[in-house]
């Protein structure tokens, strides 16, 4: 799985949570919670889906590392041990 695959999966999951927005056009450095208007339940569902699809652990204390699209991809890539 490449970095692009991880980004595509994240965008896919964001699209499920906020179906009325085009997640592929997100500013990679904008706060996801603000850009997509997601609440704590949405965020928990996102983390649940990512942890299950990527088969990784995502600690609650790591949630701040998922704040923006680009940070989240960095974090997930690092968790997966994917070569960049």
């Amino acid at each position: 799985m490449t970095r692009d695959d991880v980004a595509a999966m994240l965008i896919d999951e964001l699209g499920r949570i906020a179906p009325e927005t085009d997640a592929s056009r997100l500013d990679p450095n904008a706060e996801l919670r603000d850009e997509l208007d997601i609440d704590s339940m949405d965020f928990l569902n996102l983390v649940t889906a990512l942890a299950e699809r990527l088969m990784i652990e995502i600690a609650e204390t790591d949630y701040p590392k998922l704040a923006t699209l680009s940070h989240a991809v960095d974090y997930l890539v690092q968790r997966l041990g994917v070569a960049v």
């Binding site: 906020a18 179906p19 009325e20 919670r33 603000d34 208007d37 609440d39 704590s40 339940m41 928990l44 569902n45 983390v47 649940t48 942890a51 299950e52 652990e57 995502i58 600690a59 609650e60 204390t61």
Partner: protein, 390 residues
Amino acid sequence: MGEFRMPSLGADMDAGTLVEWLKRPGDRVKRGDIVAVVETQKGAIEVDIFEEGVIERWLVEPGTTVPVGTPLALIAGAQPAAAVAEAEVAAPAAPTPAPAAPPTVSPVPEPRTGMSRPRVSPAARRLAAERGISLDQLIGSGPGGTILHADVERAAAGAAPRPTTAKRLDLAEMRRAIAAAMARSKREIPHYYLSTTIELTRSLAWLEETNSTRPPAQRLLLAALLLKAVASALGEAREFNGFFTAEGFQPGAGIHIGTAIAIRGGGLVAPAIRDADKLTLNELMAQLRDLVARARSGALRSSELSDPTITVTNLGERSVETVFGVIYPPQVALVGFGMPVERPWAVAGKIATRRVITATLAADHRASDGHRGALFLADIDHRLQGPETL
């Protein structure tokens, strides 16, 4: 012979449109079965039945709009509907057209604007998921272009759907419904308001510790603790849980907490978490998660919308500190929580920073007084200081 009626899903609902029958004459039904889908101001709602029996015949055809309380079908071998519904709903005296029952649309924030997805009946959504059919490509033949079970069946069989124009979510209609319920609330209910700041240190530390050993699917949110604290405190504050009717205050038979949930694309619903005081935190969290998911996919059940005995609104982490609630008639109280914030706080004579949350109570002066309200809020605070006992 029993009658299956158009349910009342809120003080603001006086009519609904039958979208689809999910059971046919001759089918045996039992309590909790989903019998029909109706279109309301809150979207397509699955209507479950309180009786057991066999559907004798349909009295109303899909596409028909009828007033609340209108018989939709005859049920053979069932007790009279009103009696069963009364026992179950425990709403104030429920003769035929069912009484104005509690919340669907909560008063607080503005609906989001600017989106439109096709309306889909919950049964149709399930079938589409089972058959792997994309809803985007379907044209609904139901009222206002709602995609029906039958449309998905046709698509699955490869037949062309009947063309109609897809309807946009009617935000103006939802705004009218909120206006009607809130105008009634402000006209009839002598509100009083109380507010207190609750230290969250213990609750948040307990949550962090609990969640650190759980996979995301089993983690708890602060919202679950807040709901449980309110539900437990209501056990000793019954004058905040129930309905105010022509006969005066009627305590609720159970503690069914209407939980305000924002719907993406517009508006809010406040379906009930039933008997919330009897649920463990894990059960309550699971129900909250399920309810939010179904509220947002348009798959709520009529029983969840018809009987909340109080409403809790939780403005979440990115908003404001304090909410001044408007009670949803005929309920008598609304508990609001603002955003948790870090603030200077006096601890043993010194200033420290602590995370705190503002809890407010809007209550009906016909049913309670400020003194009792203050004790109720203080009890919620007390319970949040012992999260492990919630």
